[in-house]
Point group: D2
Chain length 309, copies 4
């Protein structure tokens, strides 16, 4: 019997620092994790999309979970993405993550192959049956080509197959209806993957946020969350607006790079500039931010008080 996870608050998708040869840099990863814990985050989501999960081998995924569990020391839950194209691969990742101490799995629909909603529901059921850990459904159609339908989320939640939802679909209206649909399940938690409508999601009843930008400014998101929990909505909105301003760095290389590489690349660049990661490399074929964009990120961090001039 798995105990309730009680995941809530700010749960950043932890960036995965590489060395220039494309290997995981464990020291940099430890620094990023401590930076997040020092910033007051309420959980750590390793091996998410922002973590470049699908670029990692099974051994690298193990290394990331091991380090996160070691650094967290049980102070906050560590949840691990098990993204892979198909059910049995996800189960293998899930078993490994459980053995290494992860407290929950984060699971998307299958990808490459195009499943329908019924097959997608089975996918979640198979993984839940095979690994004795709570499962968090991760809705990210931009990556996996299918949106978890409102009915699918309701079905999986009421069957206790999934204990939470991370919604990165951008469909805030549907998210809001799910919050209402599932309000009678006291242990079910709904998270938005948005960086920029967090105050709005919290006003609507969201239990937490999974913002990639929290790698750069965890304290900002924790403040936003604290304001919202206390009903200080004007202050929450002001903090959100500061973070929207900070977020604009994701567009600095968007002329040249894909949206993903420009966004995650800007976070990794900030981590390097802040002295947390040794390199801002991304996994191939993504290219790191070019020098001009790196300089824009530097000035942006200075302007937002996150870096000395």
């Amino acid at each position: 019997m798995t105990p309730p996870l009680h995941l809530h608050g700010i749960v950043p998708p932890v960036a995965t620092p590489y060395d220039p040869q494309g290997q995981i840099d464990p020291d940099s990863l430890r620094r990023v994790l401590r930076h997040l814990l020092d910033g007051g985050v309420h959980g750590l989501f390793v091996l998410g999309s922002t973590s470049e999960c699908v670029f990692l081998t099974a051994a690298q995924r193990a290394e990331v979970v091991r380090i996160a569990v070691e650094v967290a020391q049980g102070r906050v839950p560590v949840v691990a993405g098990v993204m892979d194209a198909t059910t049995d691969h996800c189960i293998a990742h899930g078993r490994q993550a459980r053995a290494l101490g992860a407290q929950a799995l984060v699971l998307t629909a299958p990808y490459y192959t195009r499943t329908n909603q019924a097959e997608t529901q089975d996918h979640f059921r198979y993984v839940r049956d095979a690994v004795d850990l709570p499962v968090i459904a991760y809705d990210i159609p931009v990556c996996v080509n299918i949106k978890l339908a409102r009915d699918t989320v309701n079905t999986l939640a009421r069957e206790n197959v999934v204990v939470a939802l991370k919604d990165s679909s951008g469909d805030e209206g549907n998210f809001r209806m799910l919050l209402r649909d599932l309000a009678d399940l006291p242990d079910f938690a709904l998270f938005t993957g948005s960086e920029i409508v967090c105050d709005a999601a919290l006003l609507g009843g969201a239990h937490g946020i999974v913002p990639g930008l929290a790698n750069v400014d965890p304290r900002g998101y924790v403040r936003l969350y604290d304001h919202a929990r206390a009903g200080r909505w004007s202050e929450a909105r002001a903090e959100q607006e500061r973070l929207i301003s900070l977020f604009q760095m994701v567009f600095f290389a968007a002329q040249d790079l894909s949206a993903g590489a420009s966004g995650v690349g800007s976070f990794k660049t900030a981590l390097k500039l802040m002295g947390l990661a040794r390199s801002h490399h991304m996994a191939r074929p993504n290219r790191p931010l070019p020098p001009a964009a790196v300089e824009r990120v530097r000035q942006h961090l200075v302007a937002h008080g996150l870096l000395a001039a």
Copy 2:
């Protein structure tokens, strides 16, 4: 020189009641308009998507504007959709609407033909140049196949080509960034077309809402707006949740009808059941809600206190 429009608050897209032969029913339209004004709405948007604008002939469009201006008696602004496939048709609709007393035009990108962002910007410029009325940009990619890019809205706003945006794209993140982008333009107003994340949009700084559901329950949306303006966010959220519950009627016929017909059809059905419209017919080829769905709408209205049992 056009005076500022100062459009804000609840501006419902007014449903257009038909008689069973598919002609506009002027008495029903007057009753709906008075129902909205009595409900406290801050403006009237006739000839929107919910109004089945594109189904109407030029003469019918004229009739709608004439009646709305007559009923409004200047108490609230009447803004008129001029949706059509291409620039010159929109200009013709715009001139007619101006002559009949509309105070602003609501304009989408061209449709059927697929324009790019530059051509779309020209479209707005041409209409603005040709008709001496303020123009409200209407972003509804589900109908017109193109999203107004963030840069397009910024450009048109700063050129004073458009004075407001109605965003029905569902992209709440982009809407939030636009609110921040345009915060320095004191007269520019941003409206969401959503029925279900209105509290969130208002928290983010939106100036108003254009909810189709306000045809059915204008008072609910006005209360929501008043709570938000006064910073009573818990009350705003509670009202929003009541309205989300009411909104579920749009899905009652979704198994059989297209989303648009099921949604607009449910509003027209409610207006009939509430004694405001004589018929719940929609324009061809849309079919009215079948009897079982009509009965579900009736029970739903009763359950929400909008109809006596």
Copy 3:
């Protein structure tokens, strides 16, 4: 009782020349029509997408049909597009086209509003019932946002609601399956809207082609069709390859203009350079090809033997 239409062969969507003020230029239109008839085409499709149909007023549409019927003098069928957003508008266009002598209507699904397949089938039924002319279904999802499902085409064909299909969906596999599905209906005709896989479509059994590029080179398409009908497939392929080369002009302005404006604009530019149309203007908001692209079209026509150096 409408007699069978027996439409087949090369049926170009006739370009609509404008004067620089954006009005239809009747003399230019007559020259284009005679150029097509002299080129040996088997039918004339006025008011198609390439004809900028949706940009035209009802009066302009009438003028185009009147001129085409007058120039054709019954030598080939004149079929008229009745594209509009909704059923009753299409019926009005259809009645006008019939009164002016068109021999069939070309009809798409409704647009702007999003209908489902059942509502779309009703749309075709209503128009067929209201206008005593054969109806040709026109599948162009890029413009109208819905693909006519294989089942919809089969249903409408077997109900005798439509007598032909013009397929501009680009889904050649589905087109091929429809050819097989409907092979037992001797009077049903299937046309492809493609300019570049015409030999392939004819090999698969297509009854004809509706290529925009035939405005520029009707003789080339007629030769291609004649080769195919005679089973001279190598010659058909060689002619197709020449036409694919000619077709590349549609990309000359694609950096600046939308695909539609770049494509139709290149045809109108060619017609001007060939002395058939007085102007290469397009309807607003589309911009005409810029001078550099005009010069490229000129050289391209020379290189393909369609213009003296």
Copy 4:
């Protein structure tokens, strides 16, 4: 220096038979491979989409390549899919496939992560540089979410990064333009992944076909190819029409299963009914065809002369 591959003709994406526990069934795989070779195919494409490649572990992928190379005995080329989400994983699969005797790699764009065209081009370059085998570009946007742009294919072909294209995009017009673009590269080969417009693709100059349905009826596709090569286009078309009829089995379970599961599942069902595979199971979460659909496949095979009544 890799010798030219000279891949051409019928190169089926070999189905991967499983046992009911979801493990590869080597004996069934050998029977399927011999069935294809006996049918006269010109190459074997293992680990394609139809092969459920992305469902397999590295060890299972190795087993498939090893068995295919062993059964082929050098009589026809064995090319191996190396589909994975990102560059370095594809390289690992490629090195393994090379070590086991594959003669070329088949490579898609990265997936899950969304790369742009430039990053996608780099992906192909990195894999080509890292593995000394010819690379075949595989364009399958339905699975990987990005279409290989015409310019990308041209660039990679002229840089000798890829030696062939397998086009499963369904965009026959673009495929035809690529055939023309690359006609001056004598060793570059273009394959269509279509089952139903093969005669058309061959008329247009395609070098070969990669039809999943050839698992069921290799002789039919070989006959089609032979007719086309000999210029017997009427016979090619007749054979194609027979195969289109056979192909309809992919829709027998489409009400319940995703398109992929219904299609691949119907092929696996046919292989079982024909005594080649012991089971018609698919990898989880896909469900095998239900009994009623199995029975329809059986009757269909009988009707097409591929199974005794």
